[in-house]
């Protein structure tokens, strides 16, 4: 989205870590993937989904928030909704592809051992209803659940940014109260079929998105994103270390039984409650974000280097690469399920997916640069 708005140099950390989270989402979305045991979630209670939503809020504040200040509510809301529309179209596209795969698999092999249970794969029996539900975001087949969350978050963004400009607390306090209410009363939105809840409960996840938006907002105003006290960093570092040690003992325990999993009884159930973004996940993620911001300075040479570049490019074109990643995960899973899931093949599927994501990002970046009029070519495309 080319805008004429002048802005300070882009914070490449956002692109880098968003790119990284796209790789991790791809890897984690292939069920049973060996590599998925060694992604962020094995070293923390939170995983790439938190990073993705936080950074999405952050960049939305930079792009549409800046526009809000300079061009007013209406235009920035219109731009936001153009983005929402793109995401929606992408979701429907992924849905069609996924449905094609499911139909193919179910028809190619109606299964002798699952006679009854498979009947619950109801949506092929009543496609007329399933399609309408999918268009209403009320039918989210497994694996297609992050995009609907992102769509809902961004749809609420114009209100959030307007409140933040009035006073940051007028956005943060209602958001925190809603989050607290969800934790306490387990409020949920329900989906088709069987009224099962959204995998990512938007009522809970909005809190992280609003926090990300607030951080992005502070950055556009040239304020510090975080308070400068050094003790905050130490506390964050201690939390990250603590959660990492615990998660690693769990990982070792699941490979080698006799190794004791520390605090397993107390923390495991909350740690897997991704649906409601349990407080342990949220705290762990925020601590992780503080540590990362402290350890990787904005001007870090690494971010401009050759190693980081493919990741940064993926992050800069996140919508395309995200969709591609989900698509590749579905295809990769298909290959592993239908042919073989031997470990060398798994590694090959992972490598092929990441390489395809990176090469697509290079092509998209080249295309954008090449098709821009020379004068504005220097302005990076932050909306992505």
């Amino acid at each position: 989205m080319a805008t004429s708005v002048a802005r300070p140099t882009r914070d490449l950390r956002l692109d880098f870590f968003r790119g990284l989270s796209l790789f991790l989402i791809f890897i984690d979305h292939i069920p049973g993937n060996v590599l998925s045991y060694f992604t962020l979630r094995s070293f923390a209670f939170s995983d790439a989904a938190e990073a993705f939503i936080f950074i999405s809020g952050f960049t939305a504040a930079i792009v549409y928030g800046t526009m809000f200040r300079q061009r007013g509510f209406l235009l920035s809301a219109a731009h936001t909704y153009r983005r929402v529309w793109q995401l929606y179209v992408a979701h429907v596209f992924l849905f069609v592809i996924f449905t094609a795969e499911v139909s193919y698999t179910l028809n190619a092999a109606d299964n002798p051992m699952y006679a009854e249970e498979m009947g619950v794969g109801d949506f092929l029996k009543e496609p007329h209803i399933a399609i309408i539900q999918a268009l209403l975001l009320r039918f989210q087949p497994t694996f297609l659940d992050i995009l609907p969350l992102y769509i809902v978050m961004l749809a609420g963004f114009p209100v959030v940014i307007a409140l933040i400009h009035r006073h940051p607390l007028s956005a943060l306090i209602p958001s925190a109260l809603l989050y607290g209410a969800v934790q306490h009363w387990s409020w949920a939105l329900h989906l088709y079929p069987d009224e099962h809840p959204w995998f990512f409960n938007p009522l809970a996840w909005q809190f992280l998105f609003v926090i990300g938006t607030l951080c992005g907002h502070s950055q556009t105003l040239g304020q510090r994103v975080l308070p400068d006290q050094i003790w905050i960093r130490w506390v964050a570092g201690a939390i990250v270390l603590f959660c990492a040690v615990i998660s690693i003992t769990w990982l070792i325990h699941s490979i080698y039984d006799p190794f004791p999993p520390v605090l397993f009884q107390v923390l495991w159930r909350p740690a897997i409650d991704k649906t409601n973004l349990s407080p342990v996940r949220l705290v762990n993620f925020l601590a992780l974000a503080i540590v990362v911001i402290s350890v990787v300075p904005r001007e870090s040479a690494f971010l401009k280097g050759a190693i980081a570049r493919p990741v940064v490019l993926c992050g800069q074109n996140s919508l395309y690469i995200f969709c591609l990643g989900i698509l590749l995960a579905v295809l990769g899973h298909f290959v592993l399920a239908e042919i073989t899931d031997r470990i060398p093949v798994q590694l090959l599927v992972n490598a092929a997916g990441v390489i395809l994501m990176i090469s697509s990002a290079f092509i998209i970046a080249w295309y954008k640069k090449a098709s821009r009029p020379p004068a504005s070519a220097a302005v990076a495309d932050s909306a992505e």
């Binding site: 069920p31 190619a108 002798p112 794969g121 069987d194 495991w268 159930r269 399920a337 239908e338 031997r342």
Partner: protein, 249 residues
């Protein structure tokens, strides 16, 4: 693929195909062995061990879904609970061992936990096998509710001094590309760990059979399906008997 399976693959490197598949139900099925790694788990079954040692009669209840009812094989005698009963009777002649089949098709963990008292505890069993997770994975139930239901069910059994064994999902290559079993498998295994219940890794064992060519679960002609299911259930009954023997040693 669970981590147990992963570790197994790493240790062995390659899978060696095994000889011909299982036979009928009168003799123990052969050719469908499974690596000890996949059958053995650390929790023990003290109640079962005590009865076997004292040569007392014992009752085992199986709570489960449609694979427990044995629908794919046509009738209850072919279902794995009955096959387990035969296997145990062969191993412990003279001890009255009864396996009660309380399978109800398409139930989620919640629904099964709700009838635990009436269907399992009331029968005064030494052991309850809980076959669970397929309906939850198919419906993509809330993972937190799924694990909570499992934990509640097992706690209830342990409070009544009844041994508990969880049986995880069935494997077949096609279903895994449509249904995301992994979180429910991981959840079930972790709950077994948390609540100290033995986990019977049916998924990994069936996957092992499929990979090794013992059974072929894809493209099975309609006419052969019942026979396939019958053989698989007989083998599962036998491997369950191995697991019980190991845990009650």
């Amino acid at each position: 693929m669970g981590l147990k399976h992963l570790r197994y693959l790493i240790v062995l490197g390659v899978l060696l195909p095994l000889p011909a598949a299982a036979q009928g139900s009168t003799a123990p099925p052969s050719g469908c062995e499974a690596p000890a790694e996949l059958v053995q788990d650390s929790p023990q079954l003290p109640e079962v061990a005590e009865r076997l040692k004292a040569k007392q009669a014992l009752v085992i209840v199986v709570i489960g879904g449609s694979s427990t009812t044995g629908r794919a094989a046509g009738d209850g005698d072919a279902a794995y609970p009955h096959q387990l009963e035969l296997a145990l009777q062969r191993r412990h002649p003279g001890i009255g061992i009864t396996v009660l089949n309380k399978g109800v098709a398409s139930e989620t963990a919640d629904q099964m936990a709700a009838r635990m008292e009436r269907d399992a505890v009331a029968e005064n069993p030494a052991l309850v096998l809980w076959e669970v997770g397929i309906a939850d994975a198919v419906r993509a139930s809330d993972l937190d509710e799924f694990t909570a239901a499992l934990q509640a069910g097992i706690t209830q059994l342990h409070e009544h001094r009844i041994d508990a064994m969880l049986i995880d999902m069935q494997y077949s290559p096609d279903t895994t590309s449509v249904i995301n079993f992994q979180p429910y498998l991981d959840g079930l295994h972790k709950i077994g760990d948390l609540a100290n219940a033995y986990v019977f890794h049916r998924y990994d064992i069936m996957k092992y059979w499929s990979d090794a060519g013992v059974f072929r679960f894809t493209d099975v002609p309609k006419a052969d399906r019942r026979e396939l299911a019958t053989k698989v259930y007989a083998c599962l009954g036998e491997r369950l008997a191995d697991a019980i023997a190991y845990a009650a040693r």
